[in-house]
Amino acid sequence: MTYLKPTFRHPKMPKNKIGFAKADYEGAVSTLCAGCGHDSISAAIVQSCYEMSIEPHRLAKVSGIGCSSKAPTYFLSNSHGFNSVHGRMPSVMTGANLANRDLIYLGVSGDGDTASIGIGQFVHAIRRNLNMVYIVMNNGCYGLTKGQDSATADYGSKSKSGTENVFQGIDLTAMAMEQGATFVARSFSGDKTQLVPLIKAAMSHPGFAFIDIVSPCVTFNNHVGSTKSYSFTRDHIEATSAIDFVPKRDEITVDYQEGDGVRVKLHDGSTIELEKLSSDWDPTDRQSSIKQLHAVKASGQLLTGLLYIDPESQEFHELQQTTERPLNELREEDLCPGSDALEKINQSFR
């Protein structure tokens, strides 16, 4: 029976810099529908972590509720995961992140989890510039409750039963950009060549890194008339640029001609390379990015790729001035002021 994944792996699979094979980043076999875009995103996460040589246990995955939020079970078995409550991943993530600033935090959410029940927490995590990767697996519908439109369903998109959506869809990337997110990207589950470098860059970004990923629901939203199907998405995608991510330790080999590409250096020394960038906009200029996003949307296309990045991003811990040591490592000697200090306090209340 195939809901168990064989343990055998390709015997010649290479290992990464820290000696892990890709298999070391895998999770349980997905229980999502066959062909679900979410599974592709899980695979892209596995690929990214493998290529980034992240120790699997030094990453924590947090999700809310929904099909997307089940996904963290299907990657990184050696990482702790937390499938919390609906729409509340950002707050759980905030607490987790505050407790230990040394881990990499990967939040996984869906369009219901983020654009409806969790929209409040979503914008507040952005506001705080929480150091995390926030992935929305966006299929425009509620899968687990059998296919209702979600808040990101596009205006005019047809449901499986043929009804047209009469409400405006929420564009999470536009919202994130307006709210001041310091890293905003959009991608498609079916395009790993774009998605993997984006995830890698997001993991290296110090601050809130948002990736809205169109991830078709094969069961409820992959029919003709849906604007979040595999074929519609493929036909309407317009990428900002070809993207490559160069971690800090690697040498940069590609040399761009002027006007051909842009290189964005991150805090940790790694580099994002944007090749064949559309002209007259600057991904480090928020206004220019917002303009571009709306222009492409107006033309009926879906802009994907790295939409905006703030290379000067200051993440929540910096804003909070928290100590360099993870707070969860502090003990009595660091935290308890002692009885002398307490007696001073008492004295001030007499």
Binding site: M13, G35, A43, V218, R234
Partner: protein, 556 residues
């Protein structure tokens, strides 16, 4: 089928092609096991050989399932010289077609080297008799105890075709100082084994040296242990690692307290007062010249003398057919080997075919069987006046195996178990009695577990380009990273762009038609587990698991 406890059917499927499941299930050299794909993902292949024995041991009545020779013959007569596996295979294939078959052998029973060279503790006589008799009972005219000393005489009897499967009957000797004086206590391996098998010899000295590192040497030393040999040493010229014997046979010998001394070429049979005292050996090491050729050079250490009452020389065997007159039109090449068509096994005399060891030199039983099948087709075509070279393609068929979500009609579960060891008879018992079979065979439950290790080569992943929506699910789930969606290219180029290294160049890549995104699906079958997850995860059944039926071409 073994896992499903359908032993009889399993036996018959096996019998169709390899003719001697019970025999081969014990004694085969297992050329198939290195091909087993299990060996590509872990240390050891499925114990295919010993599973055949499980089928043979547990089968029900099979004779009624085997073809009968028709009462009405087709009027053609063929002669088979030699009663070994090659000839018996020819007989098995041609008898049902109505041929009148005459089988000649010098011994009193069929089986050839399977009887003379494989000791009873590895292959009980009953098993041999049973499977030989299934064939002989197809109305074969046997001419036992008949040593054919002239092919011409046979030809003159007017057979429509003649098959020669007389093996490689001559054991090599070793002409060293003292050889002649010691002759009474120096034996040729295969002769020694035959003599023991036919009970012409029932004892040997306490101290025995076996010279040689092949399977015959292993059989000789182990036989010696059973007929009086107490200190039995196997001595090989070169390094242990270069020994020709199957690893499991070497293990079995060692388990019976037989040391294997290596890098020691024999120099002299030491004889005192006309009696063999032992053998003097030099000490060498391997050196390789620029061309990579190995040369054994003396280490300079003093020679070693090993005492022995008897020495058995098992250093190989040669073809030898003095009984084939050289003026019959059968041409011979080097080493007294006939010149044959490599596919039809036809000699330069069109009516004469060769097979088994007598065709291309010493090989093994399963090769002899393969020769037999091919020679039988050739002989049939020859007798029918058709092109001897003609071969029908093997029958193949693909049938979908999907039952439902998570469920396939084949056993898609991939067991992690390592290869199981076959249990052995207690050493004290098996060494005492020569005919006690050492290997006990897998129990039914172990057989089941071992069969579960099979990676289902019989079930193929079949891709339909038109149905694919390029969701990547198959690529993402594949445990062994066999599947890649990438831009099209030449195979050589594709191999560099796959999810995992594709270094087995003998395994062609499976490449789809071009997909809507201009990419192609490329599958490197090399380490595919046939677990079915790609098809499981495919929302459009672009992937399907289909059972692959294969019937080897036989004379018909």
């Amino acid at each position: 089928m073994i896992a499903a406890e359908r032993y009889t059917e399993a036996y018959m499927i096996n019998w169709e092609s390899n003719v001697f499941p019970g025999i081969l299930g014990r004694t085969c050299d297992r050329p198939c096991e290195p091909a087993c794909r299990r060996g590509r993902v872990e240390e050891e292949p499925v114990a295919i050989c010993r599973l055949k024995r499980v089928a043979a041991d547990n089968k029900g009545e099979v004779k009624s399932l085997m073809p009968d020779a028709p009462a009405e013959k087709n009027g053609k007569k063929v002669a088979l010289i030699g009663g070994g596996p090659a000839s018996l295979t020819v007989a098995r294939d041609l008898a049902p077609l109505g041929y009148e078959i005459h089988l000649y052998d010098e011994w009193h029973k069929g089986g050839g080297m399977m009887r003379t060279q494989i000791p009873a503790f590895r292959l009980p006589e009953e098993v041999l008799d049973e499977e030989v008799n299934y064939i002989l009972d197809m109305g074969i005219h046997t001419h036992f105890n008949t040593y054919v000393d002239s092919l011409k005489e046979i030809i003159d009897k007017g057979y429509d075709a003649i098959f020669i499967g007389t093996g490689a009957p001559r054991g090599r000797d070793l002409n060293l100082p003292g050889r002649e004086e010691a002759d009474a206590n120096v034996h040729i391996g295969i002769e020694f084994l035959a003599n023991v098998a036919f009970e012409h010899v029932d004892k040997i000295g306490e101290k025995v040296i076996v010279l040689g590192g092949g399977n015959t040497a292993m059989d000789c030393c182990r036989t010696s242990r059973r007929i009086g040999g107490k200190e039995v040493n196997v001595v090989v010229r070169s390094a242990f690692e270069t020994m020709k014997a199957s690893p499991w046979e070497i293990e079995d010998a060692q388990r019976e307290d037989i040391p294997i001394l290596n890098n020691m070429p024999p120099k002299e049979f030491v004889v005192e007062n006309g009696k063999l005292k032992g053998v003097k050996f030099g000490k060498v090491k391997a050196e390789y010249d620029e061309t990579g050729r190995r040369k054994l050079v003396p280490t300079g250490e003093p020679d070693v003398f090993i005492e022995a009452d008897d020495v058995i020389i098992a250093i190989g065997q040669d073809n030898y057919c003095p009984w084939i007159e050289r003026d019959l039109g059968i041409e011979f090449g080097d080493w007294d080997l006939p010149i044959l068509d490599k596919e039809t096994f036809q000699s330069t005399l069109p009516s004469v075919f060769f097979g088994g060891d007598s065709a291309f030199g010493p090989e093994n039983v399963i090769t002899a069987v393969a020769h037999g099948h091919q020679a039988a087709i050739s002989m049939h075509h020859y007798c029918e006046g058709k092109d001897v070279k003609e071969r029908l393609a093997p029958m193949t068929n693909l049938v979908s195996q999907k039952m439902g979500i998570h469920e396939w009609t084949y056993d898609s579960f991939i067991a992690d178990d390592l290869r199981y060891k076959v249990p052995h008879e207690d050493k004290a018992i098996s060494l005492k009695e020569r005919k006690v079979e050492v290997e006990l065979g897998f129990s039914e439950s172990t057989g089941f577990k071992e069969a579960q290790r099979c990676l289902n080569c019989d079930v193929q992943t079949v891709f339909t380009t038109d149905s694919c929506i390029e969701c990547d699910a198959c690529m993402d789930i594949c445990p062994t990273s066999c599947i890649t969606f990438t831009n099209n290219g030449e195979e050589e180029d594709l191999r560099t762009r796959l999810s995992a290294p594709a270094e087995n160049l003998t395994q062609d890549l499976y490449v789809s038609e071009v997909l809507p995104t201009k990419r192609v699906m490329v599958k490197d079958e090399d380490v595919c587990l046939h677990c079915g997850l790609c098809a499981e995860k495919c929302p459009t059944t672009a992937w399907d698991m289909q059972k692959f039926l294969y019937n080897v071409t036989k004379a018909h």
